[in-house]
């Protein structure tokens, strides 16, 4: 690979990425424009985060205060009770672990399935290719609510209702499309010469994919992982139908039980919801660089 003069997509993206040497110079100048941008940036950040700040404030007050009329922005009584309640509840921890197990596993499964398919459709022309790609996009068009009966019937017949397996398979199937779409772009962006060199060296197709192609598309893989993880983390309807045991429900389904028609624990609901956001945001913070590089690389020559 190093023998070719081809730049890897990640290198390429870094070159054109906004955080480049030139921009460091600009930053040192601290022009009024830069200050303005930072101020604007924090306004944007505030706009996006502010609803969730209200949510945080609601989680920090007693449940009875959440629907106060007129509302008060700051809690009259500050309390961490909701967070303590939620975290100390073994059932909540069950939901959290279900979500983690299901999201991580189905994300891995999506990658295992989508990478070969993306590679192949990006590199080869074959009969049925058009139909395959159409099938992929049509899978996205069905509302989960309309498919859930069929999914339930199937897993019931297979004896898989109320198992992680059923959820993992479903989440994986519904998220192949995006991963495949993104990854296909990355594979296609790698010049054919890179691959041909590896094949000439005697590597098989699969080995070429794993040892040569995959490292070059790492940012793409990271991108697909993020998108898939968020999608599976937030899935609701299918999990609601398939999972029966209280402790096997994922977070999305579990936390909705904090507010029922007869009893409303608003602050618990919001505390739990905030905790549910945290893993995703942390994941995001860790790979944000790669994500942008990732989406970029597919388009960079």
């Amino acid at each position: 690979m190093t023998s070719t003069s081809v730049q890897s997509p990640s290198q390429a993206s870094r070159r054109t990425a906004p955080l480049s040497a030139g921009s460091t110079l600009r930053r040192r100048r601290r022009s009024p424009r830069a200050v303005l941008l930072t101020v604007a940036g924090f306004i944007v950040a505030f706009v996006f985060a502010s609803p969730y700040l209200v949510m945080l404030l609601d989680a920090l007050r007693p449940s009875g205060e959440v629907l106060a009329t007129p509302p008060r922005l700051l809690p009259k009584v500050w309390t961490l009770d909701a967070f303590v309640d939620v975290v100390s509840d073994p059932v909540f921890r069950g939901w959290l672990s279900t979500s983690l197990i299901v999201s991580v596993t189905s994300t891995v499964l999506v990658m295992l399935v989508a990478i070969p398919a993306a590679y192949f459709t990006a590199r080869f022309r074959f009969r049925g290719r058009g139909l395959f790609l159409m099938l992929i996009i049509v899978t996205q068009m069905f509302a989960p609510t309309s498919l859930v009966v069929g999914i339930y019937r199937e897993f019931y017949d297979w004896g898989l209702v109320n198992t992680y397996t059923s959820l993992i398979l479903t989440d994986a199937a519904f998220n192949i499309a995006f991963a495949l779409w993104i990854l296909q772009g990355f594979f296609a962006a790698i010049p054919a010469e890179v691959e041909e060199a590896a094949v000439l060296d005697g590597a098989g197709r699969m080995r070429t994919l794993l040892q040569v192609m995959l490292p070059l598309t790492l940012p793409g893989v990271v991108t697909a992982i993020t998108f898939t993880f968020i999608a599976t983390w937030n899935e609701y309807v299918v999990a609601l139908t398939l999972m029966q045991d209280e402790s096997k429900k994922p977070l999305t389904v579990g936390i909705s039980s904090y507010v029922t028609a007869y009893q409303q624990n608003w602050s618990d609901l919001f505390a739990a919801s905030l905790i549910a956001i945290v893993p995703v945001v942390i994941l995001f913070a860790l790979i944000e660089k790669h994500l942008v590089g990732g989406l970029t690389a597919g388009a960079v020559k």
Binding site: G41, F48, P51, T139, G185
Partner: protein
């Protein structure tokens, strides 16, 4: 039809003729420019059997988890069901007739049109601006990027619930703030007044669709080689000219993905409408998706057969919408004048 759709994600055919470089989608699909085709011709052909080998895991999973239930949906739509869900027999086209003749349908279709077009269009416009902004280099940009991601990371059910509280007439923070600032003399009934409700739902729809869309555009932007810009600048083009003649055309593949995916996701979006419209009577604020759910479980029809017909109808509607959009953009891309 297949051509239209399958070329959509791969983008090549849609890439502007004079700027073939950036393409988020695959290069190998569709009739590629001849130079590239020539370079790759040898490796590009594969037999159906080889394809089956590489694609079978994906195919199997999709066949089992998506196609089989889709067939179930289809057969349900031609069956007659009791209110409890017992199959009573064949219904022929009665479910479809029942669905298509329901007096609320025109209003629901109109709502769906407004909802999808408004959310997607506004999301795309703001998303473009936001992406432009997020691509600039400034101190604290990482933090801003994390903040932008939060609405995407949060479960939609919860975000909708949160906004329902924020918009509430009596205990909503938004009304409280507006009252405190003396912008309004009395609270606004955001959730009970149909036009305001639609506007509020669109706002939430845009808000949760922006992160995904903006990041797609951020990627598209950073893919544009800087030398193109420099050349334009030397030619004396204004920033707006540069944006419209270089940036936008080069963003077209990302735009295609953003529009198509957002169309599908927004059309199928359930929680925002279900929750924010949750205390209103009738079907005057529903979209096709929530209407389908109400037919199945919450209306006097209470009929899963009719709801399944609605489900099939919905898939056809979104399929047609996507095809129309892709055809339109393709025509435009081929005739840039």
């Amino acid at each position: 039809m297949a051509r239209v759709l399958t070329d959509a994600p791969s983008g090549t055919r849609l890439a502007p003729a004079r700027a073939p470089k950036p393409s988020i989608g695959g290069r190998a699909s569709g009739p590629a420019p001849s130079s590239r085709r020539g370079r790759r011709r040898g490796a590009n052909e594969a037999s159906g059997w080889q394809a089956l080998l590489w694609l079978s895991p994906a195919l199997l999973l999709i066949a089992a988890i998506v196609i089989y239930p889709a067939i179930t949906l289809f057969s349900t739509s031609f069956s007659e069901y009791s209110i409890t869900g017992i199959r009573k027999g064949d219904a022929g086209f009665a479910n479809y007739a029942g669905f298509l003749s329901s007096p609320d349908l025109p209003k629901v279709v109109l709502n769906t049109g407004i909802w999808v077009v408004a959310v997607v269009a506004i999301t795309i416009l703001i998303g473009l601006a936001l992406a432009q902004f997020l691509s600039k280099d400034f101190w604290g940009r990482r933090v801003v990027r994390w903040a932008v991601i939060v609405p995407w990371a949060a479960a939609l059910v919860i975000t909708s619930q949160l906004f329902r509280l924020l918009f509430d007439y009596y205990h909503g923070t938004i009304n409280a703030v507006l009252l405190a600032l003396h912008v309004i003399p009395k609270p606004i009934d955001f959730l009970g007044n149909p036009p305001l409700l639609m506007a509020s739902m669109i706002l939430v729809g845009v808000y949760v669709s922006l992160p995904f869309t903006a990041y797609l555009f951020v990627a598209g932007l950073s893919a544009i080689p800087t030398d193109v810009y420099e050349a334009a600048r030397i030619d004396g083009a204004s920033p707006w000219q540069i944006y419209t003649t270089i940036t936008l055309p080069l963003l077209r593949p990302a735009m295609l993905i953003a529009v198509v995916l957002n169309m599908i996701y927004v059309f199928n979006s359930f929680p925002i409408i279900w929750i924010m419209n949750g205390s209103n009577p009738g079907f005057g604020n529903d979209t096709l998706i929530t209407y389908m759910y109400k037919i199945a479980f919450k209306s006097a029809q209470h009929d899963v057969g009719v709801a399944a017909a609605a489900g099939v109808f919905n898939v056809i509607v979104i399929l047609i919408a996507v095809i129309v959009y892709v055809r339109l953009t393709r025509t435009r891309a081929e005739n840039p004048s």
